[in-house]
Amino acid sequence: MQSTTSQTGHTEAHDAHHEEPGFWRAYVFSTDHKVIGIQYGVTSLIFLLFGFFLMMMMRWQIAYPGHPIPVMGPILEKVLGDVASGGVMSSDLYNSFGAMHGTIMVFLAVVPLAFAAFGNYVVPLQIGAVDMAFPRINMVSYQCFVVGGVVMMVSFFIPGGAAQAGWTSYSPLATSIPTDGQTFWILGMVFLITSSLLGAVNFIATIIQLRAPGMTWMRLPFFVWAQFVTAFLLLLAFPPLEAAAVMQLMDKVAHTSFFLPTGLAIGGNLANVSGGGSPLLWQHLFWFLGHPEVYVLILPALGIVAEVVANNTRKPLWGYKSLVYASLAIGFLSFIVWAHHMYLTGMGTAISTFFQTTTMIISIPSVVILTCLLISLWGGSIRINTPMLFALGFLPMFGIGGLTGLPLGLNYSDIHLHDTYYVIAHFHYVVAPGTIFGLMAGIYYWYPKATGRFMSEFWGKVHFWTSLVFMNLIFQPMFAQGMAGMLRRMVDGGVNYSLAKVGNDAIGGLSDTMIGMNVGISHAAWLLGVSQIPFIINFFWSITHGKKVTSDNPWDATTLEWQTPTPPPHGNFATAMKVYHGPYEYSAPGQSKDFAPQNEPMR
């Protein structure tokens, strides 16, 4: 008690000579973790929409190859010039949009939203801290992110356009395409990597150092654990990509040959390079990041879903410790599975077997997490609201995404499936109806804390059900297309197969049904776009018009972020927090209410 009072006294003294920061300090160059979290959130949602817009354009070209894009076609031609002449998407433009869709979605939308936005806003609150450990570094992290994003955006408008070699940027292709788009891509990535590294250091230091008294490791909400592991993945997996990016930059601008082999021919002519480099080296370095990155995409979403599930089933999470240890196991193992993306490079059977084995092993903790969350639902008196709907939707979607990954992890079946639409379907189930549903659950769940108002439940439900339907209509048929042999990254949506067809059931032939699915998929994608309109309006409208919260803890939750004033002021808590028990004491016997906040001792 002694310390609590003295702390409070200190706050008052501090506030007395505290002047209000001006607009720039408060909203643009803020060092407050909540403002930075919201900055990250809004910026990354815009990028999410933009990445999706690119794909909506591409889906037209896939469904109706060579036809001018309605409405947007002429605009694209005006803005980007010849690459969209006549409003038709050229193959160069398709390649740019495809590469940038992947890059933007992963590095500018989902990671910043899942890790930086939610992490910044929620983690310090959940551990009872006043801010992040290094507030100014936090601000710089966001600024690096913005610079990286701007560099990527500018690259659309340079001669030759944005990068075209896929989000994976395999060399020698990436090095030899005659545009500076790739150089911009690399520079942009260097900023984004720097931003992530600064964020990761900050998160880990904050979680280790700034936990409130009594907040022991096993009392951390699972969301904090998920962010903790994610931060380590970013910290250790990103630098090798940075090294690779530096080397690719050298290949581009200093004409070195890190990734260019001896005897490389470009356009039929021997390339004027010293040679001696290794294209496989790029792939190793890229996937050394690339695989941990997929856990960066999914772990925060799992964390959010765990919070929402516990809160809305009104009972403790089943297997909290298993969840924690499973995430740690995933963290370690994700560094030794990367070459399952490279089975087709001829690594030899011994190495293939090694990576196939580790891949099967890492699927165990993933299944453990999903199982814990599913069993948590058992016997709960489930409260159905929008956050819970999204969390419930997440579970089967992530399940489909995860299970369809197993055939890709076994090298025998991957030889058939590699680089087909099956892969696209698989990982989109994980990141689109998976992660994005988790993130949506988080937005609807924490919105009342950040704004003091609820988002509309009705429009939230409309958003959920339409998104669920269209997501599945988009990605389910892609499994079939992929298994039939349709390759990804094709500007004509597979028409070349029809032309070369030797009969429907010939190997390599693709039936009209398979190719015809493209049209349905594309319509579903555009309708998915329409389904986001209620969300966007709801998001902005509710800031001023949503139903007001009547308490600081509107969902009757146990974790510390609900024990702050609404919205939390600078410095977060009215009194210093002290933690007495674990994070999910719902419906504990003998209590006066069905939830016991972590800062209130239990009877």
């Binding site: 290094f134 250790l236 080397m247 200093a254």
Partner: protein, 256 residues
């Protein structure tokens, strides 16, 4: 409310925030340089037999530079220890030496770079190769000094094959291809320049921070000596890491 453990260590972890921060940052740096060293190994293993050049660098100069950095590593510790002993002037002196060492290192490194950029391999129309340092270059001819002349495909600059000449004039018409020993020349030089340039950037960055804390930043010694000492400790940890990287770089690039 203020952020705790900015200066004092948290009892259960034994660290103040920034110290944990720098260790985490260094972990990521280990991965960065680790990836580059691994690339070096892969490129070298993958090189065609005999294609990996040897002896392109000047070992005595590299050794001197190694000693310079090791010295700075010692003085950086002495500087921190001086602050712990409350001897601000000794701190100033030791950290001053650190800075001089840093500058010396960068100068020597620049000289080595200059040496590589003026080192040319000239392939002549008659199939001979002249390998030496450029003295002058005009529209009609070039002049090289310390030249080794050998048949194309018979060895590289470092292995002292062929005939030696103090100076050599080559007419422009005789030249088929002429290229200096920049990173574009071969994969060894590519990794050499990339690794050492990245390392040099770390040296310059670290020295900039140390210089700031030595100059204007040292005013904090008067207002908050404990925090200032922590800052010196942090910058010192970073400096040790930079030295450590060089300790690996030197044998890998110069000796092996």
């Amino acid at each position: 409310m203020e952020i705790p453990y900015v200066v004092q260590p948290r009892p259960d972890t034994g660290l103040y925030n920034a110290k944990l921060g720098i260790w985490l940052f260094l972990a990521s740096e280990v991965m960065l340089f680790g990836a580059l060293f691994s690339s070096y190994i892969l490129l070298r293993i993958g090189a065609a037999p005999g294609a990996w050049p040897h002896g392109l660098l000047n070992i005595p100069i590299g050794t001197v530079n190694t000693l310079v950095l090791i010295t700075s590593s010692i003085t950086v510790v002495m500087a921190w220890a001086s602050l712990k002993l409350n001897q601000f002037n000794r701190f100033k002196m030791f950290q001053g030496i650190t800075l001089v060492c840093a500058m010396l290192f960068v100068c020597i490194k620049s000289y080595e770079y200059y040496d590589k950029f003026t080192h040319y391999e000239v392939i002549m129309t008659d199939g001979m190769v002249a390998d030496g340092h450029l003295v002058e270059k005009s529209d009609t001819h070039i002049t090289l000094k310390h030249v080794a002349v050998f048949h194309e495909g018979e060895g590289t600059a470092g292995d002292h094959h062929g005939e030696h000449r103090e100076e050599m004039r080559i007419e422009a018409a005789q030249i088929r291809k002429m290229e200096n020993y920049g990173p574009w020349h071969n994969t060894y030089l590519a990794i050499y320049f990339t690794l050492t340039a990245l390392h040099a950037l770390h040296v310059i960055g670290g020295a900039a921070v140390i210089a700031y804390l030595w100059g204007p930043g040292s005013r904090m010694w008067k207002t908050d000596p404990e925090r200032f000492t922590n800052r010196i400790e942090i910058s010192g940890l970073f400096w040790h890491f930079v030295d450590l990287v060089w300790i690996f770089l030197f044998p890998v690039l110069y000796l092996l």
